[in-house]
């Protein structure tokens, strides 16, 4: 930058138009065709910038989709794990319910006992082999002969029944679908409760079902 003051300059230097030249001479610099065609074009620049912008946007989109997928995979994985656990827990309950000790208790609850000596009837000749003996008295024999520690004891059952009967704080937390599984509390845990209605309905089930089917008439 020059530090020379304007006032120290000669006049001609101060005026943009020199007075000694008459009409201002106009010089037009004309670009050659080659120069013109070599000039960068705006359209290309716009395409390039737009392209880069598009690529960025696409990348962003893919990235969003991917991370969204990752969350989905993560939640599906944990859902799968929970469901596997639930299936395994239900399977466990199922196996326990099918155990002979449990069946014995349930059967005894509705008055059943093990069968006596078998007798066979020959359908061809009508001949009966053997003498059929009545079944054992219900609940005969000791159930502790073949114990099963996996089954809840009477004490545990009572405790569980009590726990399911107190809904306020605990039961209210089980309103999410995964905790609503019917596992553990219903089946097997209260055999007497399950057994009793079964026994009472069995006596009434014949007339009610015979309403749907034609009743046999016997003489």
């Amino acid at each position: 930058m020059s530090t020379i003051l304007v006032s120290s300059l000669p006049d001609y230097a101060r005026s943009p138009e020199r007075p000694d030249h008459g009409a201002p001479r106009q010089i037009e610099i004309v670009t050659t065709r080659a120069q013109r065609s070599a000039r960068p074009r705006l359209a290309y620049a716009l395409i390039a910038v737009g392209g880069i912008f598009l690529i960025f946007m696409a990348q962003l989109g893919v990235s969003i989709a991917l991370s969204d997928g990752a969350y989905k995979i993560s939640s599906l994985n944990s859902a799968q794990r929970d469901l596997t656990r639930e299936a395994s827990a239900l399977n466990e309950v199922n196996n326990l319910n099918a155990s002979p000790q449990n069946l014995r208790t349930l059967a005894a609850g509705i008055g059943m006992g093990s069968g006596g000596a078998a007798a066979f009837i020959n359908s061809g000749s009508g001949k009966v082999t053997g003498i059929a003996a009545p079944a054992e008295k219900s609940g005969a024999g000791s159930s502790s002969n073949v114990p099963n520690g996996a089954l809840p004891t009477a004490k545990q059952k009572a405790k569980e029944a009590a726990a399911t009967a107190t809904p306020p704080a605990v039961a209210a937390t089980t309103n999410s679908p995964e905790t609503e599984n019917p596992t553990i509390t219903v089946e097997g845990s209260t055999p007497t409760a399950a057994g009793a209605p079964a026994a009472s309905t069995s006596t009434t089930s014949i007339p009610s079902s015979s309403g749907a089917l034609p009743s046999p008439v016997t003489h």
Binding site: L66, A89, A119, G141, N145, N148, G149, V170, T179
Partner: protein
């Protein structure tokens, strides 16, 4: 000029400064990107990545019908970070009726945990108080899924959980003696132990990079070793039948005051053990409640002098050797003298005229001794070896006993004869069952099997037992021996207790004296071994009671044998016998 120079100088300085900065950055860049690249990348990945142990599941043990006898289950340990438990006694829980949290006291939070887990609050407090500065303590161990779900739903911030694979035996003591059990150090007994190679799982690991929220960063590398689940072991045992057999022997053992009891059911055609019951036995769910002596299988591990149930084996051997026939006539004196001792029957009698069938029917020790004279002891010993006496069965159960059979050259004149009726020789219940399987199968011994197969997680099947039979005696010898044994269940003194209407039953009783400290005592081991249907043998049942106190004859075992055999025939829908064979004369 001066001003121009200073301008240039400043410009140069600026350029140099900028260049210096660029160089510094470049050096740093090279340092980070090239020199320390590996180290930094590792540190970064370690920061983001998480390695998880993925648990494989130990395989199931199932019975012949696929009923689960041993199962792997999910259990959870509820843990706590004692140092994170607020000292001011104020904490939060998840809002049970909506979103967010509610303020509760630590006391209340522990009460809630106690309520859902069935644990006393004092025990929970003690677990926390044990080491308040620690970051880890167990609150409740091994809870089931439902309890775990309830605890996690409480949303207490300082309570954590960890999975803890468990083992459960849904049928309890049914075949508990065979299935075995797991301890803290792994498999302890039974099939759990001997088939551990098949059952065991391998844990895997998976490593992935995760963001602040724990979710895997898309595209991050996962290096995983997949966990390998264990295989399924299928037993030949029938759970339903086992329960019946166990109930039956237990009830009877209690009634006659026996110290122990065993019962074995074998399918004749393939030597499959359908039930091997012991009393007392072990419930694998509650091992500590069982007696130490009952942790394995008595039927495999306890050898005893079996007594008269050995007689059919002796007779079949002698018939096979061509020395006798079912109708060979012999004279049976009251006492049979040998060098160094005498042999007598369980009842006093005049000299009797028995056939071989008569000897079996009346279970005469003297008769067997007389018949045994026809074959030298080395050959008789060989027959016993071929029947499997003195060696473990093909099952090779954990703790199995091979029994005691001394070399023939060491038999003194008394032992020479007593071994032929099951004294002075030891056998297990399964060995006795194997003898009867051989007789029932027309003289061809099938190796007994307890494990049907091991199916690995990928479906490959292994551990399939060898089913190749070996001929021990001729078909004629075996069949005629079975025919002779029919007399026991038709006209013998226990016939009324052994009969099964509709079926021909062949059986042999045994009342053996028990030797203690080298002397025979008043204690007895009583048993009945038999085959049904005799005309088309399909199942073998052996019922044995050790040292009964109130009934010391084989009458103690007869009702058990009959009940079990009747159940077997009924359960497997065996067709009743249609053919009748002429009885063999027993006297002459």
């Amino acid at each position: 000029m001066n001003s121009q120079r200073s301008t240039r100088t400043r410009l140069a300085l600026t350029v140099i400064a900028v260049f210096a900065v660029v160089v510094v950055f470049a050096i740093r860049l090279v340092d980070i990107q090239v020199v320390r690249a590996g180290e930094l990348t590792t540190a970064a990945v370690a920061n983001r990545s998480k390695t998880l142990t993925t648990y494989g599941t130990r395989g199931e043990i199932v019975d012949t019908d696929g009923v689960v006898l041993a199962d792997s289950v999910d259990r959870f340990d509820i843990t706590v970070s004692p140092r994170s438990v607020p000292a001011n006694g104020k904490t939060v829980e998840a809002n049970p009726v909506g979103k967010g949290t509610i303020d509760v006291s630590v006391e209340q939070a522990l009460t809630d945990i106690g309520k859902v887990t069935g644990t006393k609050v004092s025990a929970l407090k003690a677990a926390i108080a044990a080491d308040p500065k620690s970051d880890f303590a167990y609150l409740v161990k091994g809870v089931k899924l439902d309890v775990y779900t309830k605890v996690t739903a409480l949303g207490i911030p300082w309570v954590y959980d960890e999975p803890h694979p468990g083992r459960v035996y849904p049928n309890g003591a049914v075949a508990g003696n065979l299935v075995g059990f797991m301890g803290t150090d792994g498999a302890q007994a039974g099939i759990e132990l001997t088939e551990n190679k098949c059952l065991a799982s391998t844990n895997g690991t998976s490593t992935y990079e995760r963001g602040a929220d724990g979710v895997r960063i898309p595209g991050s590398t996962v290096t995983a070793t997949a966990p390998k689940d264990g295989g399924t072991v299928k037993l030949t045992i029938d759970q339903d039948l086992s329960y019946f057999v166990q109930q039956t022997i237990a009830a009877r053992a209690k009634a006659i005051g026996a110290q122990w009891a065993t019962a074995v059911v074998v399918r004749v055609k393939d030597g499959n053990l359908m039930a091997v019951a012991d009393w007392p036995t072990v419930d694998p769910n509650n091992v500590s409640a069982a007696k130490r002596t009952a942790l394995g299988s008595l039927a495999f591990s306890t050898s005893y002098e079996p007594g008269s149930t050995f007689k059919p084996m002796t007779v079949a051997s002698l018939i096979d050797a061509g020395k006798i026939t079912p109708t060979t006539k012999i004279k049976v004196p009251n006492q049979y003298f040998v060098k160094g001792g005498e042999i007598s029957d369980s009842w006093d009698h005049e000299t009797l005229k028995y056939t071989t069938a008569g000897v079996i029917l009346n279970s005469s020790n003297v008769g067997i001794s007389v018949l045994s004279e026809t074959l030298d002891k080395y050959k008789r010993h060989d027959y016993m070896t071929k029947f499997g006496i003195g060696s473990e069965t093909a099952v090779h159960f954990n703790g199995e006993d091979s029994g005691q059979l001394r070399a023939a050259k060491n038999w003194d004149p008394v032992t020479d004869k007593t071994v032929q009726f099951g004294q002075g020789v030891g056998a297990t219940s399964v060995q006795v069952a194997s003898i009867y399987q051989t007789l029932a199968n027309g003289g061809v011994k099938k190796p007994l099997s307890l494990v049907e197969s091991c199916t690995a997680a990928d479906g490959t099947v292994s551990d399939v037992p060898n089913k190749k039979g070996t001929r021990v005696v001729s078909e004629y010898a075996a069949k005629s021996t079975v025919h002779m044994m029919e007399g026991v269940a038709t006209v013998g003194w226990l016939a009324s207790q052994l009969k099964i209407p509709g079926y021909r039953v062949a059986a042999k009783t045994g009342t053996a004296e028990v030797a203690e400290n080298g002397v025979y005592t008043g204690e007895r081991i009583v048993s009945v071994a038999g085959i049904a249907p005799a005309d088309d043998p399909q199942y073998v049942v052996v019922a044995t009671y050790g040292k009964p106190s109130t009934m010391k004859t084989s009458e103690a075992a007869a009702p058990t044998f009959q009940k079990i055999m009747a159940q077997v025939l009924k359960k497997y829908r065996v067709l009743p016998s249609t053919k009748t064979d002429k009885p063999i004369p027993v006297t002459w």
